[in-house]
Symmetry: C2
Subunit: 300 residues, 2 copies
């Protein structure tokens, strides 16, 4: 199970109490911060997101509304006493910016900050539970999307059935993984009769800032939840394209063509005080659409 909490749903200029982009992706074990616009540390306070659970931060690109809050967060968690490592994935030059800002303050972080330059599409991080990949999106400057894929859950052992066959505990790990058991008489006991399936693993794609781009479709195909930017309503399609952004209709079209289960729209222009029209427009193309609301948690 994954959960996405929106900390900032707006595009460049904060407005109508909406903040620049930031969100937290959580599984049962840890939290991942995706983008970090100005005010993210305050939004984390507001919505009870614990920074100690965040070990990995992903920055899509270096427009300020996606990273101006990062240096403040990095220094604040240091001042608050963080000691454990933090991993940061971002366009290469961000390392220079952070180092410069620490240097002029004669400051150093009391924890290890591991920096990984985004260079090629593919896996950034893999542990027992999750894989995080990056993929290129088309924006005015270098920009990346992120794909979170839970690993297949282990099958659940039906203990009463397992006991019937005297299966040794040492074999349980293989049962979890789906292997059949072969007993001393060479009888095959099918895994399905010893274990039960659990929910399928979940996938989440974060598309950052992007032009309408059908090359995205393959990259995010069939994900459970797609976060796609919709900076403008469709009446401003030309303006959107000229600024390397999308409209509600375009985001919904990508969602439909990629066969995703659900679409979450975000990165709204500060010209819009209310957002209902984004949902209405998108739903005309792809029904299972929601408008990202700050503080809301979207379960996958």
């Amino acid at each position: 199970m994954l959960a996405v909490t929106i900390l900032g749903s707006n595009s460049a200029i904060p407005a109508f109490n909406r903040h620049p982009t930031a969100q937290v992706v959580q599984n049962a074990e840890q939290s991942f911060l995706v983008d970090c616009g100005e005010g993210t540390q305050m939004q984390m306070n507001n919505y009870k997101i614990r920074s100690s659970k965040i070990n990995h931060i992903f920055i899509s690109h270096l427009h300020g509304d996606h990273y101006f809050g990062l240096i403040g967060l990095l220094t604040s968690i240091g001042l608050a006493g963080r000691k454990h490592d933090l991993h940061l994935y971002a366009p290469e030059i961000l390392k220079d910016i952070i180092e410069l800002q620490l240097r002029v303050a004669s400051a150093h972080l009391p924890y290890e900050l591991h920096f990984y330059s985004l260079k090629n599409e593919g896996i950034l991080l893999e542990d027992k539970k999750i894989i995080v990949e990056c993929f290129k999106v088309k924006h005015r400057i270098e920009c990346w999307g992120f794909l979170f894929r839970e690993k297949k859950y282990l099958r659940k052992i039906e203990i009463e059935e397992v006991k019937k066959y005297n299966i040794p505990i040492a074999f349980y790990e293989r049962l979890h993984k789906g292997d059949d058991f072969v007993d001393e008489n060479n009888t095959i006991i099918k895994n399905e009769s010893l274990t039960s399936a659990v929910a399928p693993p979940k996938t989440y794609a974060y598309c950052a800032d992007t032009l309408y781009d059908e090359e995205l479709i393959e990259k995010i195909k069939n994900v459970d939840l797609l976060y796609h930017e919709a900076t403008y309503l469709h009446a401003l399609q030309q303006k959107a394209a000229s600024r390397f952004h999308c409209t509600s209709i375009e985001a919904a079209t990508i969602a439909k063509k990629a066969g995703v289960k659900k679409l979450l729209l975000g990165h709204f222009s500060s010209m819009y005080e209310t957002l209902d029209a984004f949902k209405t427009e998108a739903c005309s193309i792809f029904e299972n659409t929601e408008v990202a609301e700050e503080g809301s948690c979207y379960w996958i």
Copy 2:
């Protein structure tokens, strides 16, 4: 008349809904922004501070809680269409940081940003109404305080008196400035009988982050309002000193020795949820003390 609006009253880590340092000093004509911690642009929205009236920004030093909100503000006002010049006074290296952050975003500001490096104590800015000076304070890195001095107000002409003596309009400007009038019979008509005094010009000193430093006293002597940091209560005096900060008692001692009219305490550590004790402690030394409250406007 001057007014100081507090946008951020906290020290390094935002907490208890208090923000890092920023404040706006206003006279009848314009606004001056002093320091610009993360979230300043949102606080300006919250408290209806119009960025278009801000033409001068002063940054005391390059600890993040005093400037991490600057780049966001500079870019947001550009995106919102600002065209008129902006003047920025700060430690020299800030120029490099801003230029780097604009460059990586392939962004440029649509207005002229004039950068002035803080190098020597003295006048930074002077117009018809006000003089702004900087002075050195003692902190862990290069750090500056700012002194706002209104110019002497012009005397108010008492029009009935002036008419009695047939004083030509061309002489009014000299009357405003306090000159006596000499009529055709060489009779001196004293200025005091033709004009009346207005309120004395006001002074405001902002002391940024500083150690307890008696060298400050001469620099801020007799100001109408002194903003002095009080990061800690006096029980933590040693901690304060080790971090180049002050306590409530130390700030009040400076206020008393400098003979200021009123003291405003700020830059509170995030370890304090409530601030009443700051006022109590300071008032034991210097009675006319207030605790800076975000959104409040302090008139001078």
